[in-house]
């Protein structure tokens, strides 16, 4: 066996091992399994009183900036900073935990999330889930709204992309804990997430669903669907989770 044969053998072995699909999707030892995370956090959040965390959200606390300073007083978001109002508590808490352990990458959010206690994350998650505020979003990426609507309502089976609505609900207001509302979301944010799943900067998504879909969507499709979703009426307040 010469050196090239060694390398060939080793490469084959390495590829073989790393390509093994992870049976259950456990991305980090400190956070629950992908498929269950949102429901687990929602159940934990049931005992937390969101009113206790309203001040933290509005005014911050020492090193922790207020959420409102970036996400807006009504949790409506702005530019590539997402709307939080009306997202499910389980989904928000899951993302805060993902930032805290470095599983989702965003300098500002990692800085904040690292300083939050578990109860603070759960309380803030419920605070924003219960918030009902009008849309502050609109198309801004020059996307083709007709194509965006088509993708949202019917998907495109030629490229194996199901309708957004087939998982995010008939008004894109989300489904229970794991599937977030997309309606009235800031288009630059939605677009940035689809791009991040495509190039691997964002990892978390149950059964790697969003990775698959993001790869299939062209850049133009990503703009189109992000812009279209921004035109939809904002979600109502989420019902309080029960444990």
């Amino acid at each position: 066996m010469n050196l090239r044969a060694h390398v060939l053998f080793a490469t084959t072995l390495a590829l073989g091992l790393t390509a093994l699909p992870a049976a259950a999707q456990k991305l980090h030892p400190d956070v629950p399994d992908e498929g269950e995370a949102a429901e687990i956090y929602a159940a934990r959040a049931a005992d937390v009183d969101p009113a206790d965390y309203a001040r933290l959200a509005r005014e911050g606390d020492g090193e922790v900036w207020s959420c409102a300073s970036c996400h807006g007083a009504k949790g409506e978001g702005n530019g590539n900073i997402p709307r939080l109002a009306g997202l499910s508590a389980g989904y928000i808490a899951k993302q805060l935990n993902a930032y805290a352990v470095g599983l989702r990458i965003n300098h500002n959010m990692q800085y904040v999330a690292e300083k939050l206690s578990q109860d603070e994350m759960l309380g803030l998650a419920r605070y924003y889930a219960a918030m009902e505020s009008p849309s502050a979003a609109g198309p801004e990426l020059g996307g083709d709204l007709e194509r965006g609507r088509e993708l949202a309502i019917h998907g495109d089976w030629d490229i194996d992309v199901p309708a957004c609505y087939s998982c995010h609900g008939s008004s894109a207001w989300g489904v229970e804990q794991a599937f977030p509302s997309l309606a009235a979301q800031q288009p630059a944010y939605t677009y940035a997430q689809l791009a991040a799943w495509t190039d691997g900067r964002r990892q978390n998504s149950p059964v790697q669903l969003m990775q698959g879909i993001s790869h299939a969507l062209s850049d133009a499709d990503k703009r189109a669907v992000s812009d279209y979703l921004a035109t939809l009426p904002a979600p109502p307040a989420q019902e309080a989770p029960d444990d």
Partner: protein, 389 residues
Amino acid sequence: MTDPNPQPTRDPGRTTGRRAIGAAIAAAALVAVGAGLYALGIYDPIAQSPDRGTHQAGAIELAKDEARADHLASRDAYTNDPAAGPPTLPVGQDGYFVPRTVDEAPDNEFGDSVRRGYEVFTNTQTNASQHVGNGMNCANCHLGAGTVPESAPMWAAAVEYPAFRGKNKIINTMEDRIHGCFTYSMNAQNSPSGTPPPRDGDIYKDLQSYFYFMAEGAPLEGNLPGRGYPVPPEPAQGYDISRGEAVFEANCAVCHSSDGSGRQDPNGRWIFPALWGDDAYNWGAGMHRVNTAAGFIKHNMPLGRGGSLTDQEAWDVAAYINSWERPADPRQLRDGTSVAETDAQFHEHTPNFYGDVIRGDLLGDGVPGEPTEQAPSTGRPLGEQTASR
């Protein structure tokens, strides 16, 4: 193959053992690098979608439009002059038949019927609500509004009826077939009217208009590729409920929920249909067979990631979802027979769990629980029984 960079000298001092160690170290290093790359998601494009992410969608669509246009032109030429030869079959880049889509339906009475049929098919819960006794829509099992190949597409079905069917041993028209889907897949026995749509009614006419319209250009009895749910070969290890449970938890529960009951959105609409229990298809539906469900799942689930499960996983998870209680087989209620008799009459020749005792529960009597607690002969639809307890 010639080697542009031949190895100039080989180190004669190297023993086989040292080479093996070298290989092992190199392998370990590459594994580490590979694992790092994998964690970065860099393999995802390879693993998931080989050559997409650009403007594939547009190109595929264009090719389909061209195939349809060619077909129509050659059809017209043939109508005008038989010497022009038969029309071409409209097929896309993937080789599958290209159906007409509902937005091409004409602006006349027939087009109206096509559009109504599409609405019934995709939103059966609302548009045929009197005859639906669970949480299902036709399009839940026939994806893309009945257009997706290997998801029992309606353009392939439309040209295959009337046909003799072993299931009821008579000639079945398309109306009979739809009647059957309401009876079993949509569990009409538990619907507000208690029955499938009345024979010869508009629901049948509109659904058939929609299917017929889609299938324009398909050869009669063409047995087109993509018809039905092609069943992957049964694996050597057979199928196993407990292996299937692990597959289910890792790949399905996030959408269909751990207890298989599905999920609704804030508008109360079913988004993830139930796989077992009250709101699912009943024991007479084709999907209760392990082989049929394995075919559907292999090609279509997890939604958007069809084809990602192995044949073994598809069979195992198909077994798992069909090992739970669901609404009774309507033929049992119709005939007043016991589960055992119904089993012998209708469930003998396919792989399924009807009439088996699993987790201490007799499957088929429509009620979860101890087999001994059950009424011995006839069952009733699940909803009624639980309501009266």
